[in-house]
Symmetry: C2
Subunit: 346 residues, 2 copies
């Protein structure tokens, strides 16, 4: 597929109900996000000229900057301007995230991301594979610019785990007998690890306090798990305008997540087989499935599991409850909580 | 595509004329390569259980270990056993190389690599994208285990450049008006950078001598350029048994390389357009094209350019000609030289 010509006028991301809600949440981070955006755009010139328009396209069609927010909030010490080493760490986790999104979108055959065409749709899957690689590599180049190798080590191992989670998920595609244990392992790897890394880097760079850093990392892990559960539910209970995602994508790709797995596990064997077949043959729409899950009481069970993760995330920071950092991180848990209750899933 | 089950009995790579010639070349490195193989296989357990059989498959279907040989030879100091930090560096460059091969094979739709099915053929392109990512990430994890961040920095920037070169090449796919300048830039990035890195790491780790390290890096850059020119010629002048490559792949993918570009540049405009159209429409076989190039005297021109790069590579090490390291690196240039003259391209 031919590449479209470079644009000198990056298109700003379209505003949606969900991004507006997160704008309020990120209010205290305005200066931080501005610095992050400036830092990321300055990175474009580190790439080969032939690649720069692709990097610009990726950087200007971003999402909520949730992982950078974790870096900044976990590293929040006072109202002073954002420290350059935190801005760099925020850029690293965002680049890793963007690279994984680019590769995911190829694999999922998703056409939209953040309400704009994915890089794979616009520039072809070949270019998308390679650009994802280049963004990963650049994240590691930035990680190598800290005085010691810890940041590099954490970023590289996390990236490996994220990819391993995706491979694991891919290998189980179409498997309606996936266990909940396997499901939790997959979401831990593919999502929670990067949330954990974001919190870890922010805390470590700002405080160099191992106990606080570990507490933040634990917080991030549970928050990331809750976030992925929310995302999985959204696949068939949200709406495209509100989330910027192509809905039903997981289901269409044979990616069975918490609601479906809970339901399948609670059905008599013959009913589970019948439902499994209907899902595999694509004879059931996401809306029909949502109706069936609702009748079976699955939404309430998902909400309970989600709340448990949110509670674990909050508890991890209990010893630091009086700090502004913990208060900010707490606000993120409340934001996710709100998002869940806005969904049409009950 | 479903994954095939893990094998507990890795299949050894098939022997070919070309690998046998390189076996002799690598004779002085037998202990080094054994340690490298053991080190690489020990890395399998660093990956998630769901991924390990894929890593094993990749590691056991390798090629000539040419980049590790550069690490070991550039870092050659005496006949003492291979140093662990050199073995690790050799593993890093090999993992980066294997990851790029996995991604290349998806993009090129190549069915064979080293005479065995590619990972993409066997396990599907989705898994291949992600496994490549995981191998890149693991290479960086290993790079982060040195005391300082230099190795990480060099490995990450090289990886970014390699991917940028591939993107550049991909963007120019089907372009029969590619300039020689663009061609050289692409092969510098996609191939020569990793040869340069291999020599740089070996020299730096063994000697910590900046002048020698820079000389080795320059040597690697020119050797890598020569190697890619050889590889490009082989695409239509070799034979599948001898190289383990699916021939005509570059041409079929609209990847126009030195021989074709030289020829197109020397034809009258109307003839160049006619040949360009024939290539684009796939109405000319690699054998027919080779015949035409031969008549036009292109092979001799390619050989001259190849020899220039080999000479630059040798000259870079002239101040160190008396050292065993330079003698070993010199033997690699002679090996490439021999390979060129074995091809049916005159």
């Amino acid at each position: 597929m031919p590449d479209t010509p470079a644009t000198n006028h990056p298109i700003p991301p379209r505003q949606t109900a969900r991004t507006r809600a997160s704008d309020a949440l990120l209010e205290p981070l305005q200066a931080h996000i501005r610095q992050l955006d400036a830092f990321l755009l300055a990175q474009v010139n580190e790439f080969e000229p032939a690649v720069r328009h692709l990097v610009t396209y990726t950087l200007t069609h971003h999402g909520k900057r949730l992982r950078p927010a974790l870096v900044f909030y976990a590293g929040w010490t006072d109202n002073s301007p954002p420290q350059p080493e935190l801005v760099r760490a925020a850029a690293i986790v965002e680049l890793v995230h963007l690279a994984t999104l680019i590769h995911d979108d190829i694999l999922d055959n998703a056409g939209l991301r953040h309400n704009t065409p994915t890089l794979a749709t616009r520039h072809g899957p070949h270019t998308a594979v390679l650009l994802g690689d280049a963004l990963f590599a650049h994240a590691l180049t930035l990680a190598a610019s800290y005085p010691t190798t810890d940041i590099c080590h954490h970023v590289a191992t996390t990236t490996r785990q994220v990819c391993s989670g995706e491979i694991h998920q891919n290998a189980e595609s179409g498997n309606t007998r996936l266990t909940l244990g396997q499901y939790y392992r997959i979401i831990r790897l593919k999502t929670a690890e990067l949330f954990e890394l974001s919190c870890r880097l922010g805390a470590h760079l700002a405080t160099n306090d191992p106990a606080y850093t570990d507490a933040c990392a634990r917080h991030g892990r549970h928050l990331g798990t809750a976030y992925q559960i929310l995302d999985d539910i959204t696949d068939f209970a949200g709406n495209e305008t509100g989330t910027g995602k192509t809905l039903g994508t997981d289901l269409a790709n044979g990616k069975y997540t918490l609601p479906v797995l809970l339901h399948l596990g609670q059905l008599p064997a013959s009913d589970a087989t019948a439902l499994g077949n209907a899902l595999a043959q694509g004879t059931m729409t996401p809306a029909q499935l949502a109706q069936r899950l609702s009748t079976a009481g699955i939404p309430a069970q998902c909400q309970r599991i989600f709340h448990e993760e949110i509670t674990h995330a909050q508890n991890a920071l209990a010893p630091y409850a009086a700090t502004p950092a913990a208060a900010h991180l707490h606000s993120l848990t409340l934001y996710l909580h709100e998002q869940l209750h806005r969904l049409d899933f009950a």
